[in-house]
């Protein structure tokens, strides 16, 4: 039997009152792919993430994570999902370890297993020796890396990152992006990376262009370029949305 898609979004729509935030959006991510959700501010990226993570309930359409409907089987779906939200979600007054232990408890993990996973993930991001430091003492880039480490503690197979490089300097942005790509390659994770910055898209990524709540393109970058008959993803985005894409501030 073929494996279910890591993430399947089917005819998903969402409204805030009368304002349409998402309009019948569909796409499916195969396991192990790095996909970039590209859209300008207000395109519907955060709403889409809120629906995938079941913070909001679907009004119409479906979201399935490895075949599990987030509405009907939310526990099964959420177990397989790791999330890094756009807002910082670490408790600044607690230490890194206290924050991570809290997260593992919320997932019902055994203490000894939690300690082991925390050591592994902090080792991976080079912050193992700072586990007893207060989160407040970390730099923006380190905070983000800790949030990514935290999102991996329960070994999810799908990782969502909502604008994870916002507010970081160029070097930190690149480091976070490289880290995410390494995770995708080495751990066979499926990643959905939401951004409004065009230069975070690589040639071998899948790209989903979202504009005013609608899907304007979805597929591997070369396919999107072929469909739009453009040479760069920047030109493709401009043609698809009529908007000038943003680059990372240098």
């Amino acid at each position: 039997m073929p494996e279910s898609p890591a993430l399947e979004v089917d005819a998903l729509s969402f409204r805030y009152g009368t304002r349409v935030a998402l309009d019948s959006v569909s796409f499916a991510l195969e396991p192990g792919r790095f996909a970039v959700l590209l859209g300008q501010n207000g395109a519907g990226k955060t709403t889409l993430f809120s629906l995938i993570t079941h913070l909001y309930n679907t009004q119409s359409g479906q979201v399935r994570i490895f075949g599990h409907d987030v509405r009907r089987a939310s526990a099964e779906a959420l177990k397989r999902l790791g999330v890094v939200f756009q807002q910082r979600t670490l408790d600044m007054d607690l230490t890194i370890q206290q924050n991570l232990l809290y997260f593992t408890a919320l997932h019902g993990m055994k203490r000894s297993e939690a300690q082991e996973r925390i050591s592994q993930e902090l080792e991976r991001i080079g912050l193992a020796d700072r586990r007893h430091d207060k989160v407040r003492k970390l730099s923006g880039g380190q905070l983000r890396r800790v949030e990514i480490a935290r999102s991996l503690l329960h070994r999810p197979r799908l990782l969502l990152l909502d604008e994870p490089t916002v507010g970081l300097d160029l070097a930190s942005r690149q480091a976070i992006l490289d880290h995410a790509r390494t995770l995708c390659r080495d751990e066979q994770l499926t990643l959905l990376w939401a951004t409004h910055l065009i230069d975070e898209v690589a040639d071998d990524d899948q790209v989903l262009v979202l504009h005013q709540g609608q899907r304007h393109a979805f597929g591997p970058v070369p396919e999107v370029l072929a469909t739009t008959q453009t040479d760069t993803i920047r030109d493709a985005f401009q043609q698809l949305t009529g908007m000038t894409p943003q680059r990372s501030p240098s």
Binding site: Y16, G17, R19, A21, G42, T46, T47, S50, T53, H54, L55, Y56, N57, R71, S74, A75, E76, L78, K79, L81, V83, F85, Q87, R88, T89, L90, D91, D93, L94, Q98, L101, Y102, F103, T104, A105, L106, H107, G108, M109, K110, R111
Partner: protein, 267 residues
């Protein structure tokens, strides 16, 4: 999810609240100052002007300090319940509420665990207050202190659930000032915390009726009777029923299917 995972999750939420409590000891003592000011200053000042007749559970005339102690214990629970509300709005603004809500465990369990953690800290505060009040000659039988624990827990959960429901309705942190003016003060003053209902009746029948229906009155009466080793069954049932109602509303408020979270959080 297995039972042991529920237990671990509950422990995790308790642990986090305990750590936050240790981080914010100033807040703990500040919250204690409030009822102590009422005890030491307000009650002393009003001792002579507010005569209290003999009414159950008291078997004799009591000092005003003794009368208002259950009301001040209720005040601790009420303020802490609303503080839970404040911290949930803060958590949501800061994003850490999302960490809680994306747990695979059911939302009602996560929210109830958070409430239990808040209530246990309130109980701790209530006993520190009683210890200080004991030196002020506000004493209760030993059994009363024991019976008080479940009464405080139930009342704390009821008021916490009310705070939780309110937090699901508030969009921004600043609106908490409104909660103070429109929820905490009316609930506290229109209750039997500071004066018995018959005293209110002398001034206004409407006010007396409002106080009689106020769930906070029943929380205070449940605590008052428990402190003397007695059960006020009517108040117990009232606290249980209003607690269940507020909890249902809170879970509804945080339910992604029907609640207000999506509507309130929308950009």
């Amino acid at each position: 999810m297995s039972l042991i995972q529920y237990v671990r999750c509950f422990q995790g939420i308790m642990g986090r609240e305990a750590l936050r409590f240790l981080q914010q000891q100033g807040r703990f003592f500040a919250a204690l100052v409030r009822p102590l000011v009422w005890l030491f200053i307000f009650a002393a000042g009003f001792r002579s002007t507010l005569g209290i007749s003999i009414l159950p559970p008291y078997e004799t005339y009591v000092l005003y300090e003794v009368y208002i102690t259950p009301g001040l214990l209720g005040m601790i629970l009420l303020f802490n319940g609303m503080q839970t509300s404040l911290s949930m709005v803060y958590d949501r603004e800061m994003g850490s509420m999302k960490t809680l809500l994306i747990s695979p465990l059911p939302r009602w369990f996560l929210l109830t665990s958070k409430l239990c953690a808040g209530s246990l800290i309130s109980i701790l505060q209530a006993f520190v207050y009683l210890l200080i009040a004991w030196f002020w000659e506000v004493e209760a039988p030993w059994a009363g202190y024991l019976f008080l624990i479940p009464a405080l827990l139930l009342s704390g959960l009821m008021l916490g659930a009310l705070g939780l429901f309110i937090s699901s309705m508030i969009k921004q942190l600043e609106n908490f000032a409104g909660v103070m003016n429109f929820v905490i003060f009316p609930m506290f003053f229109a209750s039997s915390a500071l004066y018995p209902l018959w005293r209110l009746e002398e001034s206004s029948l409407v006010l007396r009726d409002i106080a009689a229906y106020n769930p906070f009155t029943h929380a205070v009466e449940l605590i008052r009777f428990a402190l003397y080793g007695q059960l006020n069954l009517e108040s117990l049932l009232y606290v249980l029923a209003s607690g269940a109602l507020f909890m249902t509303l809170a879970i509804w408020g945080y339910d992604p299917a029907r609640g207000t979270l999506a509507r309130k959080s929308g950009p």
